[in-house]
Amino acid sequence: MSHSRRSCLLLLFAVLAAAQEGHPLTGTWHGSWGPNATQRTDITFVMKWDGKNITGIINPGFDAMPLQTAVLETKGWAVHFEATAKDGKIVADGKIENVTNVRRSIVGKWTQGGRSGDFKIVRDN
């Protein structure tokens, strides 16, 4: 698939996911991960609930990664994500905070390749 076609598809996905009050994970989320407060890497999630599964991508654009696993445990609002980046597998475990709010966030632990740290993403309004 060409870059331009892939970009168009990712843009379309992002537009489709611009919802707010439905499934708690649906929507576009921005934030960062890193080993400490100063070494941060920006991340963007776009997720959608299809009625059975949560699907989505990380970092829409030329370096987009499909979410291979996205699980929501409603008890405690725990989430688990897996994806494959160029430098290794991503595994992120976190928790949705302030779940009723349109600007809710997910915070937790992030590992990517041999590195690990914390992450926080906030849902776009």
Partner: protein
């Protein structure tokens, strides 16, 4: 009568006052109690006038020519059988939520709806329009082949229901909106409204039932007598509920008055009060 005796009588009467307050609201054949804001509903039970009708015989949902009035929206819900609610309503624990939707609904209840977008003046989509305070008008425009529903409360929303037989737009043409796309037709004395194309930026009922863009509503609106509007809606959202479910309520007529001008955006202080449960 001594003060002690009077106090005793008042205390003994409290349970009966409570039961009166919980009693069912209006039913066809009699006016409502008008418990909601905007008040002005009939104060005493009187026989209602018959349903006003158009020359072709179908019910008129507005004030007849030469009269004014509005529907006293503001009370009622889709679950529970108290007050103005329909006796056929489900109880909350009978709503066929998917697990995520039940968990989110419970969170919204536990946090006392502090994040309800309606309080931030978003438009009241679907049934929310029928229990938003400060009045409701339903005007049928036969020549234009549409019905307009005008809200006196919230951001003073109006909604069009097309009765010209047009279909919903195809998926490719849809731009999901707060009010969706509504088409209607009369089935006997009931206006049946089919709506799709909703966005996810609002709560379709005050109680906070979640929904997705797959929401499909079938509303059944009738006027069993002059003073009573019956509103019933079937909620079908296969990404949120395991099966369709139905609920509704009655709304009473406020005669001889227009609703006053109100805009949610003007001096809106609700947001400051929506803080959830204080520690």
């Amino acid at each position: 009568m001594s003060t002690r005796l009077l106090t005793g009588v008042l205390l003994l009467s409290l349970p009966f006052v409570f039961l009166w307050a919980q009693a069912p609201g209006p039913a066809p054949g009699g006016p409502a109690k008008g418990k909601g804001k905007g008040g002005g509903a009939a104060k005493a039970k009187q026989p209602s006038r018959p349903t006003p009708r158009w020359p072709d015989g179908h019910p008129m949902l507005s004030a007849p020519p030469g009269e004014i009035g509005y529907w006293n929206s503001g009370t009622g819900g889709l679950t529970g059988k108290n007050g103005n609610n329909l006796p056929t309503n489900l109880e909350n624990d009978e709503v066929p939520f998917m697990p995520w939707a039940k968990a989110l609904y419970d969170e919204r209840r536990q946090t006392q709806s502090k994040d309800d977008p309606h309080v931030r003046c978003t438009p009241p989509g679907g049934p929310r329009q029928f229990h938003t305070p400060f009045g409701l008008l339903i005007y049928e425009l036969p020549e234009a082949k549409r019905v307009l529903i005008l809200s006196g409360g919230g951001p003073r929303t109006w909604r069009a229901i097309y009765t010209d037989g047009r279909p919903h737009p195809t998926d490719d043409d849809f731009n999901p909106t707060y009010l969706g796309h509504s088409v209607g037709k009369w089935e006997g004395d009931v206006l049946v409204v089919d709506s799709v194309g909703y966005n996810e930026k609002f709560w379709f009922a005050r109680a906070g039932y979640p929904h997705t863009e797959s929401l499909h509503l079938t509303e059944r609106i009738s006027r069993p007598d002059f003073n009573t509007l019956k509103y019933e809606v079937t909620v079908d959202d296969p990404k949120t509920y395991t099966k369709p479910w139905t609920g509704g309520h009655y709304i009473s007529w406020v005669p001889n008055q227009d609703f006053e001008e109100y805009f949610c955006q003007d001096n809106n202080r609700d947001i400051d009060h929506m803080v959830g449960q204080l520690p």
